[in-house]
């Protein structure tokens, strides 16, 4: 019993707060296309204040994050997304 638990806890002791790296939601097959007209999709990447959520939280790749930011800003200009939510 004792050797059983030690082998199970070994990886967690090496990295105490290990979390599996999420992959980018816009890469890979059947990934959604970044489009300023797709309000529902854009809405998933803005905070409840209306700010663009950083990629370290959403795990969007940096290339796609630049595209996404561009699309969100276009949607804001067309009043599809708000600039601020009070």
């Amino acid at each position: 019993m004792s050797d059983n638990t030690s082998s199970r806890s070994a990886p967690s002791r090496r990295r105490p707060f290990f979390r599996r790296r999420k992959s980018c939601p816009f890469s890979g097959p059947n990934a959604p296309k970044i489009d300023y007209k797709d309000v529902k999709l854009m809405q998933r990447f803005v905070s409840e204040k209306g700010k663009i959520v950083p990629s370290r939280i959403t795990a969007v790749s940096s290339k796609k994050q630049r595209e996404l930011a561009q699309a969100i800003k276009r949607a804001r200009n067309l009043a599809l997304l708000p600039f601020v939510i009070e």
Binding site: K37, R74, L78, L81, P82
Partner: protein
């Protein structure tokens, strides 16, 4: 000739027919300057996320344009002079998409769902009755030790411990 995606928002007070007339009027300008219109999409009356020129709602129109830059500039100039247009945006794209845009897809899927209807009263579920006596829990220290000693019969030995 470059491809453009053009979206403009018309004033809320206009009727859908007037908005359509506006769109044809603008596409005429493109045609006169040697361009072509791929498709026009009416997104209908939508709520604006914030007020634009004191409007809370607006008619959205999307146009796919294949025209020289000068034609687009001329159309934009006329649009800015028109008081019925409250916002416009042109974007140059590598290729025009022929299928309905994400906005139209979202709209049609919302219409498909239809009313949810009344699911009715669930009625009285009745009395669940007495659960009966649970009996003595037995010796707890023995019950915990037993499953570790032999893994196969863990559930059996536990229930035996409960009965005692």
């Amino acid at each position: 000739m470059p491809f453009y995606e053009h979206v403009f928002i018309a004033r809320q007070e206009l009727s859908p027919q007037q908005v359509e007339d506006l769109a044809t009027q603008f596409s005429q300008i493109i045609a006169d300057n040697g361009g072509t219109i791929g498709k026009t999409e009416q997104w209908g009356l939508r709520n604006l996320s914030y007020k634009i020129k004191k409007n809370r709602k607006g008619h959205y129109v999307l146009m796919n344009i294949d025209a020289p830059a000068a034609a687009l500039q001329e159309m934009e100039r006329v649009m800015r002079l028109n008081d019925d247009v409250i916002r416009l945006m042109s974007i140059r794209v590598d290729e025009l998409e022929e299928e309905p845009s994400a906005m139209m897809v979202a709209k049609s899927s919302r219409d498909d769902r239809g009313p949810r209807g009344d699911r009715g009263d669930r009625g009285d579920r009745g009395d669940r009755g007495d659960r009966g006596d649970r009996g003595d829990r037995g010796d707890r220290s023995r019950a915990r030790r037993q499953p570790e000693s032999d893994d196969n019969g863990s559930s059996e030995s536990k229930s035996e411990g409960d009965k005692e």
